[in-house]
Symmetry: C2
Subunit: 204 residues, 2 copies
DNA sequence: ATATTTGTTAACCAAATGGTTAAACCATAA
DNA sequence: TTATGGTTTAACCATTTGGTTAACAAATAT
């Protein structure tokens, strides 16, 4: 009873199309017909493979979070010093986001729309935890490497500084009165500027 | 031909109801019927006063931005030093947001959905500009009050640190594994922690 | 070969949704 | 009092939308 397979990964093409549409327009703004068009197939296929809009969305969402989680884990669970972590994360994250520009906003938005999504995610394998990071910060503070700061606050600061500009891109472009090119330059500059900013603040 | 006025500000009640629904659910997720229910009136009234969903939304959106703009202007256009500005903004902003919890996310989200909204806003009276702030930063850097930093980058950092936690509340609550109460405490702490963090970084 | 399972499509359906209409309501001016 | 004009409502409408169905196509198993 081997898998009958006329299709060469229709299921994957659907997921890819759904990703594009959902991440651009969100759950409420997305249309099943548009996803079908994007995938170049009949609308009924979406239901054949994923049963409902909600389930298709869930698949896209879990997938998206699975991409982001390892990025967060880089800050939280490797063995380098806090300073190194900040530097690595800050420069890597911006490159990462360039490849997935809609990702952070998508996750944040849909989590706002329905906070219960977090439960689905928490079961996920590589779900990030703060424990190690908090301990490490407390430790480096005690040793006098860092000025006094709570791990939680530092963590929020790091992700705020790195993620926010990509979540609020149109706002920032508007306020700073810059175009696409200007924005890219600014973000390029931030790869070092942000980690400098953070290190300046916390290093003794 | 005085204005016949059986209604005591139905128009205002509609706007208030629309604000609640739109800010919670966004343009796509909001339903005209729900807005009518929230306002306790007939759905036709929405169209009587605002013609279409789009126009009603525009009214809510402009209104929302008119609330946020003065907050930004506090950082940009008063006469205090950069250090004072950072301190004031950081502590005031968090109090402000508590009164309008859905506001920042609403603006950012809808601006992402349709970046052309910015044009509508730019015509707005108190639209914030960065010129003065940039000059002031350059000036204080030259005088040796601040470490070298670009005004634009500092501005992005300030709003990132202040706004992001409120835009990504569910994400942060999930990652830090805290509840509503814990989140409020954390934000309360940030009123001083954030300005300290910034000042530590930039002050010579 | 042919029966059976899997993949795909066009046509269809019911519910939801933004918007309209025509009639009723009500305060005020005459 | 009554004519007038803004205000409000219930019923209605056309379109959109997520989802279903029944028939057809293509593999695979026997």
């Amino acid at each position: 009873m081997a898998k009958a397979n006329k299709n060469q990964d229709t299921e994957g093409e659907i997921l890819e199309a759904a990703k594009n549409v959902f991440q651009k327009k969100g759950m409420d703004g997305a249309r099943m017909q548009e996803i079908a068009n994007e995938a170049g197939i009949n609308k009924a296929m979406l239901h054949y493979y994923y049963r409902s809009k909600q389930l298709l969305f869930d698949a896209v969402f879990s997938n998206a979070f699975s991409l982001l989680a390892p990025e967060l884990n880089k800050v939280l669970n490797d063995d380098s010093s806090i300073e190194e972590k900040v530097k690595n994360f800050t420069s890597n994250y911006i490159s990462f986001i360039s490849k997935h520009p809609y990702l952070p906003n998508f996750i944040i938005q849909e989590l706002n729309r329905n906070p219960k999504f977090f439960e689905k995610i928490q079961k996920n394998a590589a779900f990030p935890t703060l424990e190690k990071f908090n301990n490490q910060v407390a430790n480096e503070v005690k040793k006098g490497i860092l000025k006094p700061i709570e791990g939680q606050q530092l963590f929020i600061n790091i992700i705020s500084l790195n993620i926010f500009p990509f979540v609020a891109t149109p706002l920032i472009k508007g306020l700073l009165d810059i175009d696409d090119k200007g924005f890219k330059q600014l973000m390029e500059h931030r790869k070092v500027a942000v980690s400098e900013f953070i290190i300046n603040s916390i290093k003794k």
